[in-house]
């Protein structure tokens, strides 16, 4: 089990692939650990990359400080880890909690990056996220870690995935219970008490940035990713169809395809960071990995433009008094014009 000291702490990491190749570093979500990127290593190492995954402070096999884990320490620790492993620059792919750390890293240590992939994440706490975080913390502290685990499955995964994996979920929860410490989760969540929005500094991210957001992610919904897209000039937002928050686990093939195409574009110099919005192909083998989004990507449903009503036939009987339009009809009538991708 390779570890690197970081102050009084130990950081557990895994690196596979030949030295000298371009490195992709993966950053975990809150309750994840480095092992969960093994499938990504299996995919990217044969394609010429070196894959680094590690447990952040408070996660998995790394030290779990009790007294304090400042959020900024996670990016500082990544800088330290890269230095210890003699990695000058890396591609950085991250999800959820790891995404915030990755954004912070890209702002403060941008020179160490070739590119950035930010998935299911946010740069600032929306009021909704703030309350969700408070509820999660309350569940963890008042009830316990098993409660938080039970809460996260339906928040992160689709009904289809839950139905297909219902039998396996107790074993997965048990593994998560062994690997995680409730107090460490609490400390990671409480590190947000001092969290300052990253949004004002997002413009400092200059590297090619791919933002991936699940279509049905209600934990970190579109508005969170839209903030990143608007402030990072060299970015593109790709929406993963029918995906929820943890699509890296639920749809690994689709996710790997998007990351692979992105890295190829960065490598050969065809990447266009134009802040445009795309929809990923549901078929990871499709010829087109993604297509541009034409409509309003911030809406879950798209209003249809009104057409001229056909001439109504003459009523056989006298019509009743017109009813007030339904709320839905009123909403459709008031809907703004479609947004265009820049």
């Amino acid at each position: 089990m390779p570890t690197v000291p970081f102050g009084p702490h130990q950081v557990h990491y895994q690196i596979v692939g030949e030295a000298g190749r371009p490195v992709i570093t993966f950053l975990n979500g809150l309750t994840q650990n480095a092992n969960l990127w093994a499938a990504y290593a299996d995919h990217f190492v044969p394609r010429g990359y070196r894959v680094l995954a590690f447990d952040m402070l408070g996660q998995g096999r790394s030290s779990k400080p009790v007294i304090d884990i400042p959020l900024a320490a996670q990016a500082d620790m990544l800088d330290h880890l890269l230095g210890e492993l003699n990695i000058d620059k890396t591609h950085l792919a991250s999800i959820s909690f790891g995404g915030i750390v990755a954004l912070d890293f890209a702002i403060r240590y941008g020179k160490r990056l070739h590119s950035l992939v930010a998935m299911s994440t946010f740069a600032e706490l929306t009021p909704q996220l703030e309350l969700l975080g408070a509820v999660m913390l309350q569940g963890l502290t008042d009830v316990g870690l098993p409660y938080l685990q039970s809460m996260l499955y339906p928040m992160n995964m689709s009904s289809a995935w839950i139905a297909a994996n219902r039998e396996r979920i107790p074993a997965m929860k048990r593994a998560g219970y062994i690997g995680n410490d409730g107090y460490a989760m609490q400390n990671l969540m409480e590190s947000f008490v001092a969290f300052k929005p990253l949004t004002p500094d997002l413009h400092r991210i200059k590297v090619p940035t791919l933002i991936l957001n699940g279509e049905f992610d209600f934990f970190t919904p579109r508005e969170c990713h839209e903030v990143i897209r608007r402030h990072v000039a060299n970015s593109r937002l790709v929406i993963v169809p029918r995906a929820y928050h943890a699509f890296t686990l639920e749809m690994p093939a689709v996710t790997m395809r998007q990351i692979e195409v992105f890295l190829d574009q960065v490598r050969v110099g065809t990447w266009q960071g134009d802040q445009s919005v795309w929809l990923a192909s549901e078929d990871p083998a499709a010829a087109e990995p993604c297509l541009p989004v034409a409509g309003d990507w911030l809406r879950a449903v798209q209003p249809v433009a009104r057409r001229a009503a056909p001439q109504a036939p003459k009523p056989a009987r006298k019509p009743r008094a017109a009813k007030a339009a339904s709320p839905t009809a009123q909403a459709i009538a008031k809907a703004p014009a479609r947004r265009k991708a820049p």
Partner: protein, 204 residues
Amino acid sequence: MIDPALFDRARDRIAADGFTPDIQTKIALLLTSAKNGNLIFHGQLQWMPNLGVVQQFIISQSARELEAVTLLARTTEWSQNPTLALEANRITAPIALAWTEIMLPPGPLFNPQAAYRGLSLGHAQLARIRLLPVIPDNADPAAPFVVALNRIEQENGRMLQTQIRLLKNVGVEIPLEEREALVERDQEMVDAVFSEFLAWLAAP
């Protein structure tokens, strides 16, 4: 972190043999040893001068440890094999020794370093000694011993809240790095004890 395979092997042993009196006694001896240390420590710490409102939290911690110990004593189907007690004493000796060092005169009442060490060790015990993963799927969830384990572990989670608050807010005269290093050392010690215990639990 405890090797997950140790939990698996202990669970598989219990799944095969059931919660026999020997298994229950092993678990009860470990938990009682750890919790008695924390109980005695808090029992003295509650009289530390100038605690203010913190005193009530410390009294609550010791009361809850006492509840856990008595709950275990009442629900455990005790084995009459004395070698289990001897082996449990050997395995838990590092924890017992640490509590003894903490309680040496002048003790936590007048020694802030010992007081902080006690909070740190108590935290490590509550955080790392976790027995829910060894309860097999085929165990009767309504069996008194299983109910007791569930309740104790849930209560441990709540007690950790107080323990974390105390660790964050007392002992601030000790540098942060030193405090974190102390906590980490205690966790490693408890991890080693608990790993050996799980191997003992899994043994035929």
